[in-house]
């Protein structure tokens, strides 16, 4: 293990509680540059809370979050985001939405760009997401899938250090969804992005990405079975096949087995794994359980 080496995104001993209710319970995570992490978990496990912490919309109750050597603050240009809805500004056209970040000077080199440079750069991205014919339309004139593709272009033009995606394809129909998954994988390979992708769809999580994380509140540890106020932990952290594969891999037996395994480990309220036995096989995985959690007597 290479614990001491500085990683791109680091999360150390992060707790998040609302009032006395603990949501995230001692989360540790290190992510390399260029990694595509998918995060799944049962509903209510705190996936979106973790995203909001990394995004800086909320601060942790305790613990540290570090991106590229700097402690994470309020949302800024270093982190791009795509939500399930409302990522686009309804009063701006597709082109205006995509160029907004450059025109309002959010990217450091954007001040030296002429109007034409900005449009050209946006056009390149719009071509990549196959929307170059729709630059003058407004968001309400586009389908759900097209809106999300504009949102991707709008975020990518800022060249963020990390792209956060919160169930971005959750509101799309299955065919569009599969199509979007493939385009996203293509874009990720082309642009060498670091992506943090949240979904409640296990198939989507196992299909996308190089690393699969599962957050779960269904586990036990040495604080005892009767310990009530347990928040979610990362219960699965494993490597996925590195290459973007065609969608028919979703029907292969290995893929089905993987999904079954994670369903059992993270989604089954009856199956309480001990925190020491989580499948944290990813080379970057690390945990630091507290003494109470690991049962070390003081």
């Amino acid at each position: 293990m290479t614990d001491d080496k500085q990683r791109y995104l680091e999360i150390h001993d992060v707790y998040k509680a609302y009032g006395s209710k603990v949501i995230l319970d001692n989360i540790d995570l290190k992510v390399d540059k260029g990694e595509f992490c998918s995060l799944v978990g049962p509903s209510g496990c705190g996936k979106s809370t973790l995203l909001r912490l990394i995004l800086g919309e909320e601060s942790p109750t305790s613990g540290k979050l570090i991106l590229d050597g700097e402690t994470i603050g309020h949302p800024d240009v270093n982190r791009g985001v795509i939500f399930q809805r409302y990522s686009l500004f309804p009063h701006l056209s597709v082109m205006e939405n995509v160029t907004l970040g450059l025109r309002l000077g959010g990217r450091t080199d954007a001040k030296s760009l002429s109007d034409k440079d900005i449009r050209d750069e946006a056009m390149v991205l719009l071509k990549k997401v196959r929307l170059d014919k729709h630059e003058n339309k407004y968001p309400h004139q586009l389908s759900g899938g097209m809106q999300q593709r504009v949102a991707i272009a709008q975020a990518l033009i800022m060249k963020p250090k990390i792209l956060m995606m919160d169930e971005p394809f959750g509101a799309l129909d299955p065919d569009t969804r599969e199509d979007m998954q493939l385009s996203l994988l293509e874009l990720w390979e082309e642009e060498q992005m670091t992506i943090f992708f949240i979904t409640h769809d296990m198939e989507e999580a196992a299909f996308l990405g190089t690393r699969l994380l599962a957050l779960s509140q269904y586990y036990t540890d040495d604080r005892g079975r009767n310990y009530e106020n347990r928040g979610s932990k990362i219960a699965v952290d494993r490597k996925l096949p590195q290459v973007a594969s065609p969608t028919n891999v979703k029907h292969s037996p290995e893929f089905r087995d993987l999904i079954e395994e994670i369903r059992e480990q993270a989604f089954n309220p009856e199956y309480l794994q001990h925190a020491k036995e989580f499948n944290l096989s990813h080379p970057n995985a690390f945990v630091s359980l507290t003494q109470e959690e690991a049962g070390i007597k003081r």
């Binding site: 995004l55 919309e57 309020h74 949302p75 800024d76 240009v77 982190r79 791009g80 985001v81 939500f83 809805r85 409302y86 990522s87 500004f89 309804p90 009063h91 907004l100 970040g101 309002l104 000077g105 959010g106 990217r107 407004y138 968001p139 309400h140 004139q141 586009l142 389908s143 759900g144 709008q154 975020a155 800022m158 963020p160």
Partner: protein
């Protein structure tokens, strides 16, 4: 499957039937009026309460197309000009101030902490109750009347604009921050354009109370204006003038409403289309 023409939730009135249904209450109202007026006038030709249409037409001719002997002006038009000026200035001021306050209170929690309770307090003061104070402090000229309209309308606009800002999904504010937008740019380039259509709608709804405050102010102290004229000729029971004036005010209000609706759909075609594909 046949849909009923008029009754029930499945009704699909045809185009001509829609026109008939639209005209029906107006035709009934006019018919009842003409009948009642006719009865009274046959009974007493000097009756002033329900004048006939020709009497009203004569009155309109005097008011609108005959020079007034005392002032040398055409009264209907000078009244209309005076009233429109007051209501437009008052409402416009209220819209601008309400928009600005609502935008800042809705977006910036620090401003909201001061602004919202205070504006809520102001909005609870019945404007007509402070009309005497306005006349005392601003005189009986134009300023007091404009101030009454302004004070009567701006709290509602401001509070509604605040709610409109609060309704903008928080995702957009985060999104703007990840694009590197400054707080002022957020307020004036992202939030402001999105609440402008709501401002138009709120002003549309506020015009009713603006007219109310205008007529009230004119009734008490003025030397011209639509409300002033109505309350003046009331002394002579001149229903032949009052009724056309009321219709004229209604028409002006309708035109303003129509104009605002047109502006809404012309300038903000994306409004109210959120999440829907058409």
């Amino acid at each position: 499957m046949k849909s009923p023409l008029i009754w029930g939730v499945n009704a699909r009135p045809t185009v001509w039937l829609r026109w008939v249904l639209l005209a029906l209450p107006f035709v009934l109202l006019i018919a009842v009026y003409l009948y009642a007026s006719d009865i009274r006038l046959t009974d007493n030709p000097a009756d002033k309460l329900l004048p006939s249409f020709s009497q009203m037409a004569d009155a309109v001719k005097t008011m609108a197309f005959t020079e007034d002997k005392r002032t040398g002006s055409y009264l209907l038009w000078s009244d209309t000009y005076a009233s429109l000026k007051r209501i437009l200035i008052g409402t416009l001021l209220a819209a601008l101030v309400g928009l600005w306050l609502g935008l800042n209170n809705g977006l910036f929690p620090g401003m909201d902490a001061t602004g919202n309770p205070f504006i809520t307090f102001i909005s609870m003061i019945p404007p007509l109750a402070i009309l005497p104070i306005l006349f005392i402090s601003f005189g009986v000229d134009e300023l007091a009347k404009v101030m009454l309209i302004f004070l009567g309308v701006f709290p509602l606009i401001s509070r509604d604009m605040r709610l409109a800002v609060k309704q903008i999904p928080h995702e957009q504010i985060t999104k703007a921050a990840t694009l590197g937008i400054s707080q002022l740019q957020l307020a004036y380039r992202i939030i402001l354009p999105q609440i402008m259509p709501r401002l138009i709608e709120t002003v549309r709804l506020s015009l009713g109370s603006a007219w109310l405050f205008l007529i009230a102010a004119e009734a008490i102290a003025a030397d011209q204006g639509l409300g002033y004229r109505i309350f003046l000729v009331r002394r002579y029971l001149a229903m032949d003038i009052i009724l056309p004036y009321v219709l004229w005010i209604t028409f002006l209000g309708f035109m303003m409403d129509w104009f605002l609706r047109w502006a809404l759909s012309y300038f903000y075609p994306w409004y109210n289309k959120g999440g829907k594909n058409d």
